[in-house]
Symmetry: C2
């Protein structure tokens, strides 16, 4: 492993390491209002690539992007009882606008079910209008008392999808499609983060939902991070807002709904699932810079060779940056590209030119290979695919080795010191095991069937609880 003295080491102090990476790789900074966040250009360029990849998948399952207002009348929140109970303590409230006190306070959206249902109730008339699927990329605000960059911030960026269906079964199936074909597929195949998909216990559901499904990933400190959720809303919001459709046989029914979201929190997941003591390791498919050509010295044609190489790499479809800042020491620049986690670094100086070669450095393994300069542009695309595959493989091996099936609460506690434990959900409930786990800071992340599938309810005999310490 490369080692950088600019970061705390993961083993010594993981939270400090995280904070250091976020700062030194120039990903984000704290905003002036407590809990808010500035996403810096490099961090944002990773987020943009996440958005592009996820947005394409969301469009594939038929959801159209749109935009609903930031401001929601406070009374809207009150219409769904569980929803207001869940969100009222977290909202930011606008009381003055245009120099005057407002007649009705306005809530800054913590999520958009209420305002969107106001429109769904107009748009949905007939069974022919169903299913109806929309998505929006936007900012939301939930007051955060213990903020942490990307992981828990008062304002965060996310996408929230909202759908209406004619039947319970169709809504149910779509919530699973989002969880599996959109979210898990993106996380595994783009972020190279393996995820467990499962069902949340009732008390962990989204306020107003009848079922919440989640993707849970293991971070390198063995803790769980919830990476995305997909909710079945049943008819709760439809009833609160009158979202009804006329059936083929002339009846009038409330629609069945889903909502689902992923956020800038995934940036935290990316950092903590792949980073090492030298900084970030960004999987190539989500890397804004996949290869950096580092010019050691601009002598004897090395500058021109570096430019030509960057051009060739770009022509080969590789997102390439040329670092020709020869006024900055080579060592400092190398450390900086390691911090930023660029998958492949190509070092090139006058001596390399003389030898007709470059040094190709893989960020994930720190291996260095002398490579003929003429072969680099042909080699790198395949190498990037290899890095992508191996990062996923490493994350999966690591997680699977730390995910242990246990048969007692004390064993679950012991296993959770290092990673995840799977234990009978029935056992936990019969022995008040959750209270015992909570004393050790361990919670139920999700419920799964022994074969990894989603349980239809909490009451199936062989359901397993995945338990862990969590972010």
């Amino acid at each position: 492993m490369p080692r950088s003295s600019v970061l705390a080491s993961q083993a010594e102090d993981f939270p400090r390491w995280y904070q250091d990476v976020v700062a030194k790789a120039a990903l984000a900074d704290n905003g002036p209002v407590r809990g808010t966040m500035v996403i810096l250009p490099y961090g944002f360029s990773i987020w943009e690539r996440m958005q592009n990849e996820l947005d394409a998948r969301i469009k594939t399952v038929g959801a159209d992007n749109c935009y609903f207002p930031l401001f929601i009348p406070e009374s809207y929140l009150n219409r769904e009882a569980e929803h207001v109970e869940g969100f009222a303590p977290e909202v930011a409230v606008v009381t003055h606008g245009g120099g005057k006190e407002l007649d009705e306070p306005i809530v800054v959206r913590p999520t958009s079910e209420t305002i969107i249902n106001t429109y769904f109730s107009k748009w949905v008339q007939s069974y022919r209008d169903l299913p109806l699927k929309v998505n929006q990329w936007c900012n939301v605000v939930r007051w955060e008392l213990r903020p942490r960059l990307f992981l828990r911030t008062t304002e965060f960026l996310w996408q929230e999808g909202h759908t209406c269906h004619a039947t319970y079964e169709d809504a149910r199936a779509f919530a699973e499609t989002i969880l599996t074909d959109v979210y898990a597929d993106f996380m595994v195949n783009v972020l190279a983060i393996p995820v467990f998909t499962g069902r949340k216990p009732a008390y962990e559901r989204f306020p107003g939902a009848i079922n919440t499904l989640a993707c849970e990933a293991m971070m390198l400190d063995g803790k769980a991070l919830q990476m995305g959720t997909s909710h079945e809303l049943g008819q709760n919001f439809a009833k609160a807002f009158g979202t009804q459709y006329s059936t083929e046989t002339g009846g009038l029914e409330h629609v069945w709904q889903t909502s689902w979201g992923t956020s800038t929190r995934m940036m935290g997941g990316l950092i903590m699932a792949h980073g090492d003591d030298a900084g970030l390791r960004v999987p190539p498919r989500v890397a804004p810079i996949q290869a950096v050509v580092v010019l050691v010295k601009a002598e004897d044609g090395a500058g021109e060779a570096a430019e030509a190489l960057a051009r060739d790499l770009r022509a080969a479809g590789v997102r390439t940056e040329l670092d020709a800042r020869t006024d900055v020491s080579f060592g400092r620049r190398a450390v900086d590209w390691e911090l930023k986690g660029v998958p492949v670094r190509i070092e090139l100086g006058p001596r390399d030119i003389a030898a007709g070669q470059v040094t190709l450095v893989r960020r994930d393994t720190a291996t260095k290979d002398a490579t003929p300069i003429g072969g680099v542009a042909r080699t790198v695309p395949g190498l990037l695919e290899q890095v992508q595959t191996e990062l996923l493989g490493a994350a999966r091996s690591w997680r699977d080795a730390r995910t242990i099936d246990v048969t007692s609460v004390p064993d679950a506690v012991a296993a959770s010191a290092e990673g995840f434990a799977q234990v009978s959900w029935r056992l936990l409930r019969q022995t008040d095991g959750e209270a015992a786990l909570r004393e050790h800071g361990i919670t139920v992340r999700c419920l799964r069937q022994p074969d990894g599938s989603l349980p239809d309810s909490e009451d199936e005999d062989d359901t397993l609880a995945l338990v862990a310490r969590a972010y």
Copy 2:
């Protein structure tokens, strides 16, 4: 011109026509909080294409995307005197968060100069850090008393760019680059809307700027719409926030800054620059759907032929929709695609299949041509380019015919009934002509040199004032 009875006609009632198009083409709706807006899927898909095209141009001139918080401490706004005077009356104020009254009220960003300079003052240390260029796509809130969808809304979506430069000259040049190479280029070559670029009179400047440049377009009712602005901020914000850099010779200087923005207001411009009595006419480069294959009846292989044709068009790089909703009347569907302004419509039914042809309809000219089915996918890409060029040409001819050079205030008033007038800026100032114009609802849109270039100041002898009624 095609004519649709679902809209008011432009000649009868232009504002009503605008409102009808926004509603019937399903572009936007009013939000529940007065002045806010819901952007519907079709409207948003046009906005997304605008974003993509503009974002690419912004990146080309070296600005990196990032994200700054929605919430700004109220005290930040107060640091630049003109800025707070300009924006204080329009802001929304958060006084409660997390269930408590806040110690310091928070302003929902009306624009981000103040919060961004807080970070610029940390990021900029040396001349080596300059120029520094960032951009963000986000929502902003400015309380609006007379809202109008897209044109004036309390919350709107926009991009705002912010830069720091070492010298006045560099900042000045960059503000012009944005105006000309980014904004005007996008508006002319993508939106097919010709724009006049010019300098705002001092009293129309952005609060805190030393110069505001603008793109002004003529709408089909002869009124002007400000489509985008680029500001020189001088050192005003740098001084208020201490954004300084050490020079090459060891001195310490405040940076020179620019900021620049375009918003969902451009959607209003698109509607009013190209629409006709049948609805929108979307220029192909910004059209989310460039061609629609309308299946008349699914008989005698017409359904399969329509699918194959849509496939061929997509393979030819045409953004294509297949409308196979044969349970809805053909006439109603044709009217709907005209409302939505899809540039090319291809009608195909069993009779066409028998004749080996389709009917190709241009939305802009309403011309219908029988075309051999095998040639459609080859024909359409070129046809779309032609439509793009002709929409721009038509808009330019129309505007130029209604932009008249005049030599007196009464003549300016007369010309402004139909379009724009250009009159000596010196004359206006010496005769208090602006007051006379204002009585007729006419304002100075921008100042230009006789050759169309940007004046260096307001005081040049031959500067012309472009005057018009305006949105």
